[in-house]
């Protein structure tokens, strides 16, 4: 036989086999994220649509009555959807000013040491498990809410006492939970603003604060917008932190009502739901998934707009 081992060409051949296998395996690894998103999409659609067809779109999506275990079961998730939208919007309204101003502090004002301290605090906030937020929510926020509730509705016979587990408590927990996302991404955006902008503004006689609010923040608005979009995504998908804090019965979202979010309904009912009830839970999952996909598309658009603006 040929003396394979002596020829440099045969060794090159075996090397090129290794090379090609490596390239193929690595390509498969890269494809995995596409496969994952595709199969998640397929599974969510396959499992989420049967209920829509069997019960009718309007009877699920635009029906406020949720009574899955009654004699004539109804599976309306309208209030659940409204609660999620309303709760997330309120959490954003509370969280964005605090998050943005903290990011301004970190990027524009803080001295190195203070900066390190605040940054580690924010990183820690991001790492805290959501169940712990829930635990502190029911032990710190709910009692306070219950006191306020008793004071406000003392003479109102129509109000059903919730013991503090209401929409407002959930909004507060969500607003705190999205702070790290808002702060981190806004800070990156603010730091990306070229120093020339600041110098020019200061040279024209603007004070530091004027410079920040009239020059730096407008210049970073695309990054701040993506921070808000990501904050919305984080808030709408949060489940375990608010499941016990929000009360979890289906009501129109008024601040002191016990409410159910898209996520919390799945958590509490999944363990025992069967038949159509279970199918509707998958539909809720699908609604949530659609929200997230829309958010991601908006985000991609925002980032692209930022690039087109010459950032």
């Amino acid at each position: 036989m040929e003396a394979k081992n002596l020829s440099i060409f045969s060794s090159r051949k075996s090397k090129s086999v290794t090379e090609r296998t490596a390239a193929i395996i690595l390509r498969i690894c890269a494809i995995m994220s596409i496969v994952a998103v595709a199969s998640i999409t397929i599974y969510m659609v396959i499992s989420g649509t049967p209920a829509l067809f069997s019960q009718g779109f309007a009877d699920i999506l635009f029906n406020p009555v949720w009574n899955p275990t009654g004699k004539n079961p109804e599976f309306g998730i309208l209030y659940i959807i409204i609660t999620s939208i309303f709760g997330v919007a309120a959490a954003i309204v509370i969280g964005v000013p605090i998050g943005l101003l903290t990011a301004v502090y970190l990027s524009e004002i803080a001295q190195p040491r203070a900066r390190t301290v605040v940054r580690s605090a924010v990183e820690l906030l991001a790492g805290i498990p959501s169940v712990i937020y829930g635990l502190l929510g029911i032990l710190i926020i709910n009692p306070v809410m219950y006191d306020i509730e008793r004071a406000l509705f003392a003479n109102d016979p129509n109000h059903q006492m919730t013991g503090g587990s209401n929409l407002l408590s959930a909004i507060l927990v969500l607003a705190i939970m999205i702070l790290p996302t808002l702060i981190n991404i806004s800070q990156t955006a603010l730091e990306a603003v070229p120093d020339n902008f600041r110098k020019s503004s200061l040279a024209l006689g603007a004070s530091k604060i004027q410079t920040i609010f009239k020059v730096v923040i407008p210049a970073a608005r695309n990054g701040i917008l993506s921070a808000i979009v990501l904050g919305v995504g984080r808030a709408i998908g949060e489940a375990m932190a608010i499941v016990l804090v929000s009360g979890n019965s289906v009501n129109f979202p008024t601040p002191f009502a016990s409410v159910r979010f898209l996520t919390t309904g799945i958590v509490t009912d999944f363990a025992y739901a069967t038949g159509v009830h279970l199918d509707v839970l998958y539909t809720i999952g699908l609604v949530l998934f659609v929200f997230i996909i829309v958010i991601n598309i908006v985000l991609t658009k925002v980032v692209k707009a930022g690039v087109a603006n010459g950032k």
Binding site: A22, A23, C29, S33, M44, L124, S130
Partner: protein, 301 residues
Amino acid sequence: MANNSGDKELVRSANMRSIYDKKRRVSDTILNGLIHLSTGFALTIVLVILGYIAFRGVPELDFGYFINQTSILKNTVGILPNIINTLYMIVLTLLIAVPIGVGGAIYLNEYADGGRFVDLVSFTTEVLSGIPSIVYGLFGYLFFGIFMGLSYSILTGALTLAIMVLPLISRNTQVALDNVPNSYREAALGIGSTKWYMIRTVLLPSAIPGILTGIILAMGRVVAESAALIFTAGAVAKLPSSFFGHITTSGATLTIQLYFEMAKGNFDIAFVIAVVLMVIVLTLNFLARWISMRFDVNRIK
């Protein structure tokens, strides 16, 4: 870098000497106050969370919790099974996710030359990092639990979490690879190395700190995760009967146990678990910071 921060100092001191600072603008004072107030608020929240957990949890700490499982027969309460389950979950998830995440990142950075494929992978990675954990939970239950027949088990949970942490690992690896100077690649290829050999012996060792940071962040995600595990890994808190067999049994991690205890109103044990979780989270945070400081190429040079 040093030059840049010097510029900022200059701006700051120049601003201090500006004549406009003598004339106090009311709006400036108010806005400045709001900025500090917000930062103070964020700091206060962290302190309250840490303080309250320590205040309620530390007095409850008892060595017995860490060596026992909860059993009515033996009248013991303990979280040892949950600690073991959490460790299993971390190791298994990383075993699945790290090769795929690192491999995919290498392909995107070193092999692929732009185009729609790269765009698609970036977009899907973005989507993966945005999908709520509860949706992962539903998918994991349907796909790994029912379709693949793994039912409620630590393996089902780990497979689900592996998809979830994939973006963290691949993003960090990509950044780390980006930071390896091109001269390293050219030098290795120039002396006759093949591409894969160059990646294996030059690029990966240089990128290790960044990859490690990604892995630590992924560990943090696994430890903190609950919604994706409740339908996949299940709720059983029993000590393993066999080392490998434990993978296919249902097992509640620390976070899941914390959720059940808190739903049942057992706040004492819930706070013990909270303390353990916070210690883990803090340790991982310090570890990530230490690695990025210790191996920061810009600092060493």
